[in-house]
Every structure is written in C-alpha cells, then in structure tokens.
Amino acid sequence: MNAPADASSRDELEAAVVRFAGDSGDGMQLTGGQFTEATAVAGNDLATFPDFPAEIRAPVGTTFGVSSFQINFGARRIMTSGDDFDVLVAMNPAALKVEMSRLRKGGLMIVDSGTFTERNLAKAGYDTSPLEDGTVDPYRVISFDISAMTMEAVKEFELSKKDALRCKNMWALGFVYWLFGRSRKTTQEWLTGKFANRPDIANANIAAMNAGHAMGETAELPEGVHGFHIAPAEIAAGLYRTVTGTEALAWGLVKGAELAALEILFASYPITPASPLLHSLAKMQHLGVTTFQAEDEIAAACAAIGGSYAGSLGITSSSGPGIALKGEAIGLALSAELPMIIVNSQRGGPSTGLPTKTEQSDLYQAVYGRNADAPLVVLSTRSASDCFEVGIEAVRLATKYMTPVMLLTDGYIANAAEPWRLPDLDAYEPFPVTFHTDPEGFHPFQRDAETLARVWAKPGTPELMHRIGGIERSYDTGHISYDADNHHRMTKIRAAKIDGIAKDIPAQTVELGNETGKLCVVGWGSTYGPINRAVDNLIRRGKDVSHVHLSYIWPLPENLGDLLAGYDTILIPEMNNGQLITLLKAEYLIDAQGLNKISGQPFRISEIEDAILGILEG
C-alpha cells in the first residue's frame, strides 16, 4: 500500500501508541474503533485495548466515568496494545487526570480546552486548571476548544446542541487522522451507512471530522510537531480484517460445529465480559446455531447439556462467578460423558471483583474446581485471532472424546481488536460426528478402545432407548452401579480418557529462543503479546531467553516436562496470584518462579523485561 502524499514532510516513526480518553458519553470506543480500521487499512500492524468503566454511564465528567481506547500500531509486528502512550487525546479534565501519568514525557497531549470549565475541573478533582498550573509541562500540549470548533463546523446542519456536541469525537478523530496521515474514507463510509436515515447527523459528523483534519493542516503546532508517518508493516499477503476475540471465537465455534456436522445449542446468561459472545451468536441463528438466554448460569449449563444429550453441541459461556455456579452441572456432563464446551471470559475477582477488568485467575477453577475426581479438558486462547482456532479445537476434542471442554479466554482478548488474515475456510479437515445407531450389543457406556470415548446415542434413534444419569454407571452395562470396584474402575477410566488426549494434541513448541538454555518464560492466555515482545527484545539484545506459551492447560502436552527440564530457570508471568505455576510444579516438580500482576491490567513489556533481566543478571 502506498503511504499518504505528505509522508515526506512528516516525522518517521516505527510505531506509536495513541490513547483516546473521554467521558463515557463521548464515544471514545467508537472513535478508537474507527481509527483502528483506518490504521489497519493503511497497512500497519496493530493491537488495541478498550478500557471502560464498570458503570453503564457514570455521571458526566467524573474520573470513574472515563472511558478510554488505546491502540498501538506500527511498521513492525505489534504484540501488545503498548505501554506508555506517545499521544493522548483527553476530551475532558477527568480524562486528563486519569490518563496523564502514562503519557510518556514529551508525549503529545491533545485536549479539548472547551471542557476545562470550573465545574468539570471540580468534578475531576482539580482546584486549578492543569493546563495553566504547570501540571502538563512535561508534555507537548495541543489545546483547542474542540467543543466550540465542532459547534461551528456543524452549525449548518442545525442540530440540537446535544447532537452537535456529539460530533466532538469526530473532530478529534479528524485531527488525529491528519496527525498520522490516515485516510478518512473508511470512517466517512461508516458514518454514511450508520446514519443512513439521519443524513444530517452523518454529514455533521463528517463535517466535524473534516474540520479537525483541516485544523491539522493549518494550526500552529508546538515546536517540532508536524505530523508523523508510519510505514506499512511487513505483513503476510492476504485478505485482512480487524477482529475481536469475541467475534473470532463465535466464528470458530460455528466453524467447528460445521466440521463436526452438528448444530449448536448455545445457552448462556449475560455477564460482563462474556455477554458479547451471546450477542454475536444470537445474530447467527441461521447458521445452525440456536441461542438461549437462560434464567441463570445453572440453567444455561443444564440446557447446554440437554442439548448435547439430544444430539446438538451444547455450549455455555460465562465469567468467573457464573462459571462457579456451573460446577455441579459440569460434573454431570463429565460423568454422563457428554460433549460440552464451557467458555470462561475471565475477569477480575474474587466475587464481583472488577467486572470490567481483565485477569486470568480462573485456571484453578477450570482444572480443579469441581467436587470429586472430575477431570476435563482445559484450553486457553492467547489473542483475538487465536480464538478462532481454539474454538474449532474445543469442538473437536469435546465431540471426539465425549467430554466437557473448558475454554479460557479473558476480558482483554474478548474486547481487544487486531488485524487478522482471514483463513481459508475450506482448508479445514472435517471431523464429522457419527452417532451410534447399531442396537447390536448396545449399551450407552460402550467405549472406543483407543479414545476411550463412549458412544453417542441420541434420543430419536430406534432401538437404542436407554437411561443415563449422575449416579455411577456400570462399566459393563451402563446401568446404575453401586459396585465398589466398578466405581474405582470408572474413575480411572474418566481420568485415563482425558490424559490420553495428550497423544492427540500438538507437541509443545518454543515460540522464541532456544529449545534449551538459561531461562524459559512460560505463559498462557493473553500474556502472549507482552511476553513475546519482551523475549524478542532481549533476544535481540543477545540474552539467552526463550518463550513457551501453553494453549493446552489440561491435559498438558506430552513433551512439556522434558522441554522445561532443558532450561536452568523457568519464569511464569500470570495475571493472577500464581496458578499455572502450581500446576506445573505439581506435574513436573520444577522450581519455577512466578511474576504476578493482579491489577486488572495487561502486563507491560517492560515489566516482563525487568523480571527476565533480574533473573539473568541478578
């Protein structure tokens, strides 16, 4: 793709982190989304991080009402949404108050001076205006009365003041578009489409965007600011789109079911940040998906199991507290040996905790969180686009082994967007389910000698009528059995079936670095980006460090123990108080070290770099 014309006159950057921050009502998520589209189209690699408050719409102008959207984009491969910002757009004093500390010294601060009124300053807890009292001196401040300029720009459309001011974010977007030499086309098209039946609104927004953009051309900018240019990244050829973890997962599950030749019964109960998966699938009910919003998480899990019992693929989805409620039902699914997928979009806990913040603290619950000896498969996703593949794999394992599969994702992955090379949907190998139909010697717990999976005989099949349930079943007949030895045998079989899956999953690979060496950083889930970038940076600096990232939490890959044994030290960064580390210590008796961040925020690359250096040099 070709860079904008004025590229020459601009400062060349390899990458930049921009943070849009404003009031919940200012439409920052939308603004960020638009900037993401335009940036992707411009050929940069990128990663984003939407960061919004728990309140639906907190009172205007308050610090806890600040909603932010961060994007990291560049000419090189982008692994995270970035640490400190290069550019901060602060639409009001509260936004400035909340975000300023993470704008790097000398970074660009774009503020709407029009909002720095007595009232708003007070709401943000400022006695004096930070724009005047020296607070912002460490930064390069670009201060416009964006509110006024927006009103001006849209007045011809004679909107209500409320509607007119709603265009502010487009003005700011227009300016940032200019700043990075982005095309306004995608946003223009989007606005026209979105407000098809309110052309005045559409045009007002476009006018505001254009005004902001024009301002870039004309305005007196601080010393040395004349726009930036970021060259397209080296990206594999192909058709791309931006995708969030939620979208990719929804599509992966649908694709998986198609490969298994099954319909999906998706039963869920709303909860942050899991609800969007329900919303996405609810829109796909013409593709063999039925969505059911149950009365609670327990009913959702039970309905999903009922769906699998009846021959569909039952999927349920929630977040930590909701998953806790499903534990008993999951126990039935695994003892009745029915396929099931449980998606856990992890969030900050315990209890209600930090609903809108991300965390990966439900690994214990996934692996151990049920009564009795109740093993199941646990998979995890490492990025938005990875959700597609993991979704398919979850379907494959659940149906092939007649077992519940817990799929761990998190709030960050669910909401964050990244560019994704659209896969060739026809390239996937189908794994159609064959339902049992042969009455000859049938009983419901007949097993496949190799997979140990029981037969799947669904209601509606002639001559296979049978009864199953949660009471222990006879290995030989499938009937209720209170026999002591049988219970021992069945418990061992249930465990062996899950353990055996290790033979059916890829061997663990090393993402970066040597297969043996001084230090291996082992991660899982959404810490992939920061770990990978940190390890990459340090390898470039000649350090002996490797990155291993787990997708299969249970069972673990067969070769993992030997692989980890090849390193002097193991470092396990987790966005929890240390859970995978417990699992690996118990499995392999390795004296690993933990790096734990439980702040509801993704790791910064520097935090992981420091930990690595601490070990290698300390």
Partner: protein, 342 residues
C-alpha cells in the same frame, strides 16, 4: 427393521424396563408409574422419540423404569435440561418428573421459567409433601408444623401450593391427580400430553415411610366423594356422593362456598360450571385446601397459547429469511476488509 414392519400396538408392559424398581414397598410412586405406562400405551407413544427427564429424589428415579430415553440429571434442574433437549430436537416428546423438593425447593426457579416460556413438555410433580430420598425432612409443600428431622418442633414455613404457584408463573395447563386413583390419573396425563406448551400436573403421592397418610383426609375411600371435586370443563362443579353438593361463587366476597344440590339439580342451586379457560376460577379452585372446601382434581386450567418451540421456530425462520444465504464466510468478510499484496 422397525421401519419396515411397525410393531403391534404397545402395551403398558412394553414400556416397562428390565430394571428392578427401587422404591419402598407401598410407595405411591408405583401407582404413578403404572398410570404413566398405561398412558404411554394408550397414546401410542413412540419409545425412541420419548424422553423422561428428572432431577434427584425418589420421584426422580422414575426414568429408569420407563422403556424410552431417560436422563436422570441433577437436583432441581430437570426443567432446564428439558428446555435444552426441546431446543435441540423439538420433535422429541419430553416428560419432566420430580418431587416437591426437587421442583419447588431447589428447582422452583427453573419450574417457573419453563412454565412462563411455555416450553412444550409435560411436567409431573410428585407431591408427597416431604423429602423422601434424604429421609424425611420437611419440604416447601409440608404443612406448617410438620415435625421432621430438620424441624423437630414442627416447621414454621408456610407451605406453597404447587398449582397456585404455577398459575402465578403463567401456566397454560394445570391439573391435579392422585397416585392411587388409577381411573382418573391416566385421563389427566393424556390431556396434559395433548396440550401444546408446558403442561403442569401435580400428583399427590403417598410416602409410606416418611409422610404416610398426609392425604388420607381426601383420598380415603370413605371421604373421596366429599373431599374431592373433579373439574370437568363445561360441567357443574358438583361433588359428594351422587353429586349432592356443589361449589358456588359469592360475587360480593369473590369466595367459593358449598351449596346443597337439591332435586332441581346444580343449575338451580347456582352451582358454578367449570370453565377451564378461566384463570381466575382456576386460581380459586387450585387454592382450595381447607376443611370447608373440597380439593380440586382433574384439569383445573387449560388455555393454550403459542408454545416456546413454535416461537423459536418462527424466530429462526425469520432469521433465515433475513440472512438470505449469508454463510459463515460472508459474515466473516462483512465490514471492512483489506488486501495485503506480497
């Protein structure tokens, strides 16, 4: 083979499994089982398309004894499993079985929702007013003052009436039967099965071990006529030996009372005629539980409405219509995409 030569009409015995029935000798559940097996034979149920779903409890052991598909799930959640089963395969004929603890204590919410959604299943609640399987604790239907291991000085809770509760939850079919009344029970079950949408049947069941005789005051041969009024749509609500009594409404107080039916018959005596489509009447009949009034049995309420399955089917048809032939690929390619050339 089945396809080729359809089997001769099945008998009740054909619907029994080879499993030994494990209820206490004399348990009312045996009678209910008999009535259900007879009903299945009578309605010519297709074993392979019939599913019995239950929670946990003595009552919930039911599926093991019926030669159809059966799922003995977890305590209180059977209605949720049944909803999932119907959503996955609307063709299946689904019966939900559970006790008063299963469906009104831990499972009250799921019962409420399967009812309000009007999912097309038959819900059979075996009400023995006690927790049988766990050895006799008071249940939400136990009368106040019930002495049990968990309430040694008598329970203080007010009991809930199963039928009144489901009517409040929006039930479209509500009936009440009695375990031992083998003539009436199958007829009620047949009506329940015929009704499209959620059909709720409360079956008064005697737990001979932990609550023996709780219903004796209305089920003893000697008192049946005087203590039970059979609801028949369009017929006067009379009871007593040779119908010498009837139910009458006092419009001023909106209460039901008992009148003698004289020689000139019920109408003359102002006896109410049962209208099973009337929700207010149904609520009054369902609520009758004190000595002065008989207990209502039979089909108390039946006012069909769009079933959940039908609603979902319509919604999905609409979804297909709108989507035209948008497949997964076209959805994934929706919105902005761009090409990176090599």
């Amino acid at each position: 083979m089945n396809e080729l030569t359809p089997p001769a009409k099945r008998t009740a015995k054909d619907f029994a499994t080879d499993q030994e029935v494990r209820w206490c000798p004399g348990c009312g559940d045996y009678a209910i089982l008999r009535a259900v097996l007879n009903t299945l034979a009578d309605i010519e149920a297709e074993p392979e398309n019939t599913v019995f779903v239950s929670g946990i409890g003595c009552a919930a052991r039911f599926p093991y004894y019926v030669e159809t598909y059966g799922f003995h799930t977890i305590h209180g959640r059977a209605p949720a499993f049944a909803t999932g089963i119907k959503l996955a395969n609307p063709e299946l004929d689904v019966w939900v079985v559970g006790g008063d603890g299963d469906m009104l204590s831990i499972g009250g919410n799921h019962l409420m929702h399967v009812i309000r959604r009007n999912v097309d299943v038959q819900v059979l609640l075996f009400n023995n007013e006690i927790y049988g399987l766990t050895k006799g604790q008071a249940s939400p239907t136990s009368r106040a003052g019930t002495r049990s291991p968990s309430t040694p000085l008598g329970s203080v809770d007010n009991p809930v009436s199963a039928c009144v509760f489901v009517l409040g939850a929006g039930a479209r079919f509500v009936a009440r039967g009695i375990d031992a009344q083998q003539k009436d029970l199958p007829a009620i079950l047949k009506r329940a099965h015929a009704h499209k949408g959620a059909s709720f049947v409360e079956i008064l069941q005697n737990c001979i071990v932990y609550n023996d005789g709780v219903f004796a005051d209305i089920t003893e041969k000697s008192v049946v006529a005087d203590r039970q009024v059979v609801c028949r749509h369009g017929e006067p609500l009379v009871f007593g030996k040779d119908g010498d009594k009837g139910l009458k409404l006092d419009p001023a107080t909106l209460t039901l009372g008992v009148v003698e039916v004289g020689a000139d018959g019920p109408e003359a005596a102002g006896v109410l005629v049962h209208d099973e489509t009337n929700h207010v009447l149904a609520s009054m009949l369902a609520a009758m539980d004190d000595e002065d009034l008989p207990v209502a049995v039979g089909v108390i309420y039946c006012a069909p409405a769009l079933s959940y399955g039908e609603g979902v089917a319509q919604m999905k048809a609409e979804a297909r219509k709108r989507a035209r032939d948008a497949d997964l690929k076209s959805i994934m390619h929706e919105g902005h995409t761009w090409t990176v050339a090599d």
